[in-house]
């Protein structure tokens, strides 16, 4: 996974609440078996509208997306994170994110920053009004600033932060606990009432 340390980039505002993962990547692109190549389908339906932000040349090359409340709700499709990342987004700032999307983003090196609604509104307004509006996001310092008076600290789960900073592979981290896992599993297997095939009958 690509490390996330510090990023300075143009900002694309998306001032819509409850942006669901069906919009981020519609279902017809979920039939592929690859992990890459989803960027061209990002916000596929909304992009049919020439006025949609992604079609606006002033936001071209933006790696930071600022969105409204509950971004990434709905379907668990990791394709949403793959599409954002493949398109070039490395950071999304919003007042809140859906849980599964939050997890998926982290596993693809995308930093999600939760800020209070008023601050997000400020960023949305500035990004919409200012040509080439850009932000600097530092995960090392937990700060965001625009060099023009907007500066704030943000909070982030320490484990998630560490994984992003170091680009850590989750499975590798879990396997550090292999001995505990073996021990737990041996005991747990005796609890047949929570085993899937407890009363297995002849296969249909």
């Amino acid at each position: 996974m690509e490390k996330f340390r510090k990023l300075t980039s143009k900002v694309m505002p998306l001032d819509r609440v409850n942006v669901d993962t069906d919009q981020i990547i519609p279902k017809q692109f979920l039939k592929r078996i690859e992990r890459t190549g989803y960027g061209e389908y990002l916000f596929f339906d909304w992009r049919q509208d020439p006025g949609f932000e992604l079609n606006n040349p002033r936001y071209a090359g933006a790696k930071i997306l600022v969105a409204a409340r509950n971004f990434g709700c709905g379907s668990s499709r990791e394709h949403a994170a793959w599409a954002l990342s493949d398109y070039g987004f490395r950071c999304v700032i919003a007042p809140g994110f859906a849980d599964i999307f939050h997890s998926n983003a982290g596993k693809n090196g995308i930093l999600l920053v939760t800020l209070p609604g008023e601050q997000v509104q400020t960023l949305l307004d500035r990004a919409a009004k200012t040509e080439n509006y850009s932000l600097t996001v530092s995960l090392e310092e937990n700060t965001i600033h625009d060099g023009h008076g907007f500066a704030t600290q943000f909070a982030i789960d320490p484990f998630r932060r560490e994984c992003l900073l170091e680009g850590l592979d989750d499975i590798g981290l879990t396997l550090r606990h292999a001995a505990e896992l073996d021990k737990f599993e041996k005991q747990h297997d005796a609890a047949f009432w929570v085993a899937p095939r407890a009363g297995e009958q002849a296969q249909a």
Partner: protein, 476 residues
């Protein structure tokens, strides 16, 4: 004396493998359900890293999202979908995972077959690369949807690092009025708390109206927990649960059964256990619900109207409502019962179980589908389909003019050929009314199976509480 604990805490604590200080807990996973759409990249990840599936016996796969629902569906015309299904077959064969393939009598929607085969049980941790995994919480399991990276993680380790969610008890108290169903309960809840009302939480549904629900009804409620943003939904196992589970293919038998039930009885939330949040809703306030917008929180009573924009609480909501009404081609203030529909879909992991089909058939019996409506029933599994056919429900639907299909996710998300055309308006028993969910430009209204059936007959939404039932008993 140990502190009083919630159902969630009991299941959580019995599955913690390790709690390394400043990292999330490592949670053991009892059952991993797999389908064709969110697994190919996970298996590929295993291959690239030279890893195996740690516990094939705790993994079960089926095909549901992509499969056509037409009678002859062994050959899939869409080459991209066919390749994805073929990939699942190869992955299951290579890694030793049981697959209920398209011709298996156990094939079906992953969240229908898990419980009906008795794979899902009280007290388990269950995951699947699908957000509606919350369904299995109806049995008293901790069940939640995960992304593909996590699918790979579970395949490799049978564990997941998980931050501990908060607890939220939603109690629905009192007797549900006739014609008001589990679907209306959960739509009413989402309407009240919003699509991010339970983000970061595991909901426990409680109260007399929840306890009086059948297992199928409880699954409908837990299924849509994710639409309120919740990590999972759970209901304490009770006599209804045990009676429903007993004798299913993977349920414990004989002396094991009694021992299992004794264990499961310990799971219910202790008196005095504390929740992070609580909400109580009187059942009597719940009416048959119809969504009018483009998320499941945009919901009205069937006797109500599409809201006026002035009713929006915030400017952001007002803009979202404006956009939703434009997409849905609805005017503020329109009575819900005046909204005419083109299509009806009865199916999905929310409402495709035998009880759902019985409820819909009872409404349909003796009536004809409206001339301007195309209606279809897609049973949730081969077992549901066979049961319905034994009961003659298929005949009732067919005679009324419904299409009777093969099991799969179908028009809930339109990954297979079952999609709405642009501008078509559908009464659907599924779980999401997002823009384009059932087909680009399609307009979805979420309702209960009874409400969908009545809409199919009338060609518009109608209050099922005043329905003229033409046949008292649905023939067996």
């Amino acid at each position: 004396m140990s502190a009083a604990k919630t159902l969630f805490e009991k299941v959580w604590e019995s599955h913690v493998v390790a709690e390394p200080g400043n990292e999330p807990a490592l949670l053991y996973i009892d059952l991993h359900l797999i389908h064709e759409v969110t697994s190919p990249q996970a298996f590929e990840g295993l291959r690239l890293a030279g890893r195996r599936v740690r516990r094939p016996d705790r993994s079960i796969a089926t095909v549901d999202h992509n499969v056509p629902t037409t009678a002859n569906r062994v050959v899939i015309e869409d080459p991209v979908a066919a390749r994805q299904i073929e990939t699942l077959r190869r992955n299951c064969a290579d890694f030793g995972v049981t697959l209920y393939d398209v011709e298996s009598p156990r094939q079906g929607i992953v969240h229908v077959i898990g419980p009906e085969l008795g794979l899902s049980k009280p007290g388990m941790t269950i995951v699947c690369g699908d957000s509606h995994t919350s369904t299995h919480g109806a049995l008293g399991a901790l069940a939640f949807g995960i992304g593909t990276s996590e699918v790979e993680h579970v395949l490799a380790t049978e564990c997941l690092p998980q931050g501990k969610p908060k607890t939220f008890r939603i109690s629905v108290e009192g007797e549900l009025p006739e014609g008001v169903t589990a679907k209306d309960i959960v739509l009413a809840i989402i309407g009240r708390i919003g699509t991010d009302g339970a983000t970061g939480c595991v909901i426990e549904y409680a109260g007399s109206a929840i306890r009086s629900l059948s297992l199928e009804g409880r699954m409908t409620v837990c299924n849509m927990s994710i639409e309120a943003g919740a990590r999972a939904g759970m209901i304490a196992p009770d006599e209804t649960t045990f009676a429903w589970l007993k004798g299913r293919p993977f349920a414990p038998q004989g002396a094991d059964w009694d021992r299992a039930v004794a264990e499961w009885r310990k799971l219910a939330t202790d008196p005095g256990a504390r929740f992070d949040r609580e909400l109580t809703i009187p059942a009597v306030e719940i009416e048959p619900c119809v969504t009018w917008g483009t998320n499941p929180g945009m919901v009205a009573s069937v006797t109500g109207r599409v809201p006026e924009l002035g009713d929006a609480k915030t400017e952001a909501d007002r803009r979202a409502w404006t956009r939703a009404l434009e997409y849905m081609d609805l005017r503020p203030g329109t009575p819900i019962e005046e909204i005419a529909i083109d299509r009806v879909f009865i199916g999905s992991c929310t409402n495709s179980r035998i009880e759902d089909l019985r409820a819909a058939a009872k409404v349909v019996a003796g009536h004809r589908v409206h001339s301007s409506v195309r209606a279809m029933v897609v049973p949730g599994s081969q077992l549901v389909k066979a049961q319905a056919e034994r009961e003659g429900l298929d005949r009732i639907f067919r005679e009324a003019g419904f299409e009777w299909r093969e099991p799969g996710c179908s028009m809930c998300l339109g990954m297979n050929p079952d999609i709405l055309q642009p501008g078509e308006r559908c009464a659907s028993t599924s779980n999401r009314n997002f823009e384009g969910r059932q087909g680009r430009g399609g307009r979805t209204h979420l309702v209960s199976p009874m409400m969908a059936a009545a809409a199919a007959i009338m060609g518009r939404f109608t209050d099922v509480r005043t329905w003229e039932f033409r046949k008292e008993e649905v023939p067996a």
